[in-house]
Symmetry: none
Subunit: 227 residues, 4 copies
DNA sequence: AATGAATGAGCTTTCATTCAT
DNA sequence: GATGAATGAAAGCTCATTCAT
């Protein structure tokens, strides 16, 4: 996971070797921390995880959003690429579903990413651009799928994206089956007509694991007694 | 709202009159505060809202969960009642949908309640009991609806409950239309067969208001660039 | 010095005894610290000097200006009283000089007070009021002194006040003689005519002590090697 | 401005060509920065202005005072020259006033210089020497002016210099009129006798601009109430 | 029993100074 | 010799929790 981003930007001369190493340490740490804790994570914690002083993080990323941007640009580009891929699928609905499921998993595994995607209109240009691009591609797929008569005509791309963002909230990181199941159910609701339901993954939620299924909502101090 | 729960438990001798009064003040204040701020709200804020000292809250509810439990028992009993009501509906699916939509609104308007419902298995016995009771009732409705041939056979009550918890996350408090729309779409996915889609409320999400729709996820510092 | 301020305000019920005690400790410490270090002194330092935790200072005076206000209201009221006194002097010029010299000493001994007086128009109402009141009284004296033919007609009250603020900057705390001397010289410049100079205090500055005379300007890191 | 001081001292072998260039860049930058920000300016800022690394400044001037000394030697030499010029004026008082007014403007426009001049007795020998030289020249003028019967006999050169240092503090950089006015008033106080006051520049301070006049004192956090 | 106060621990941010390259 | 990076220390501020009255 700590690989990509070999260069940052064209235009600024490359960082010194050790600095670049630290930059990567910080980005890697932040990725990890943001994924688990969300974007509110303290700079302190990131610095500690990266093994550098807190001030170093500030030097490299004076603003929190600088860090977020640098971090999620990579991920978003990945998403755009995946979306473009999906757009070439001759079966629009299949392409759409594939892309959405993939996106759900991505977000589910990365709380920070989910937040970035949710922050419509307030991010960096770069991020906004990527988001807009994704929306446009999904939109095209939606239109095609509607034209094919598979997708109901009264929905728009954002209906789908919104639903999937929420699906991504369900289940904890290590429980993709729950998301699969829920996603299938929800997507079934978007079909024009249906003679019989799409087959569900067999992992019906049981009393025992609903706790884990809903885990992400708990984020409160109710449960764990701090000390 | 400040009525129910006059005594706490059999077994502990009743509180002094003023103490009991304070207990209720705190519960009422906490209900309000938790609804708006979620379960993470500071004890300080609750104390202020109740007009008592912070230490009083600690004395009465040493642990945060003590407060949460005492508080939501009342609300859950209300839900149980509503569920039992729904169970008497001759049209199981109609009863089910009605109950679920009501629950969605309730949770949407009460952040704290949503969190409590999500925390399955970690609450008090009392809360767990109530939750189980609700699940049982919904289960009965599910079985009936499946028997009626309306609800697809491969789902269980918890699938529905889970889906609805998530629907409740969408849109901000004052935007029930978004929830209506999304809820309709999702419930459509649970039908056995469908010749044409259920009519949607016309409030298709627009680019402009997706920000608000996803608001609950944003809670981060990413956005505002202070200076 | 740690006496006055027994009650704070009408309207808020009095603080608990221990709290009031701490409040006074803080005010006394702040008076001391502000006098020496100026208004920029850290809350930390004040807290340490008062023997309380930093958070206690914040609780009692959430904003720095709250502390400054509480602190200097007393001093300013004292100044207003002294000015009113001066206004009753039958010899306007004598009254004026007396008041100004007194004020110079006060400011010289209290760096913070000088800063408060300098912050025209940006303080609390209360402080602004006091300042305005002082200016008005001085103004009346100026007019009378001009009418008496002693004070030159082409100056205004603010000329005098400004000059004295600067005189107060000269010399270090324990060197009132320098201020006396300089003040006399400067005030001589405000006379309409003069047949011979006003007698000066004999403390002509010598090479040796100019350093101390100009001390207040040094406030830089040039001199002392921090460690 | 970046001319003088090509070599530093006899005795240390000359710096390498590039090092000497950097030395000058740093001095030029420091002059600028100190003038605006005062002697407390961060080394970082100077380094940035000079286009060199922070560590380079430290290497060349390990102590802040090393930099200050090297820097203000040039300026002080300029002052000495100007003083010598004034000493040739046949009208001693006129020469004196001219020199002092010039000095006031110089200091007013250069916060750092004012601080250096104030730090009597703690600078380098070199600076102290220059200061002493200036004092000596002014002294000669003072004696001549006293002999001419214009300047009161009970003052010494340092009285004048001190008074002018303070006048230089008044008003902000772009407000020479305030200094002119105040300077005139103060110098009037040094005359032996006076039948009528010297004409003042008409810029009587108004309530509105006293804030600006006293600006230099305000440097505190008292004022702005952030929220 | 109730309270408001006190506190220590935590996070954010900045800066002077030193270090590795 | 020069550099940009790193850092520790400090100050500002907040909050959950405990304490003295």
């Amino acid at each position: 996971m700590s690989s990509v981003t070999p260069t940052r930007e064209a235009g600024c001369r490359p960082l010194r070797r050790d600095a670049e190493r630290n930059r990567q340490l910080i980005l890697d740490a932040a990725r990890e921390v943001f994924a688990v804790r969300g974007l509110d994570a303290g700079f302190d914690e990131i610095a500690r995880a990266a093994g550098v002083g807190a001030a170093t993080v500030y030097r490299r990323f004076p603003d929190r959003s600088d860090l977020v941007d640098a971090l999620f640009e990579q991920e978003l580009e990945q998403m755009v690429a995946r979306a473009q891929d999906a757009a070439t699928d001759p079966d629009a609905w299949a392409g759409l579903c594939g892309f959405l499921r993939w996106m759900v998993e991505l977000q589910a595994r990365n709380r920070g990413l989910a937040q970035v995607l949710a922050a419509t209109g307030h991010g960096t240009e770069r991020i906004d651009d990527d988001r807009a691009q994704i929306a446009a591609i999904v939109d095209a797929l939606v239109v095609r799928a509607q034209h094919d008569g598979v997708l109901r005509a009264d929905v728009v791309a954002l209906d789908l994206l919104l639903a999937m963002v929420l699906v991504a909230q369900a289940g904890d990181v290590d429980d993709p089956a729950s998301r699969e199941r829920l996603g299938t159910l929800v997507l079934d609701g978007f079909l024009t007509r249906r003679d019989r339901p799409t087959a569900l993954p067999p992992s019906a939620p049981t009393e025992q694991d609903v706790a884990r299924v809903l885990e992400p909502l708990r984020r409160s101090r109710t449960v764990a007694r701090p000390r």
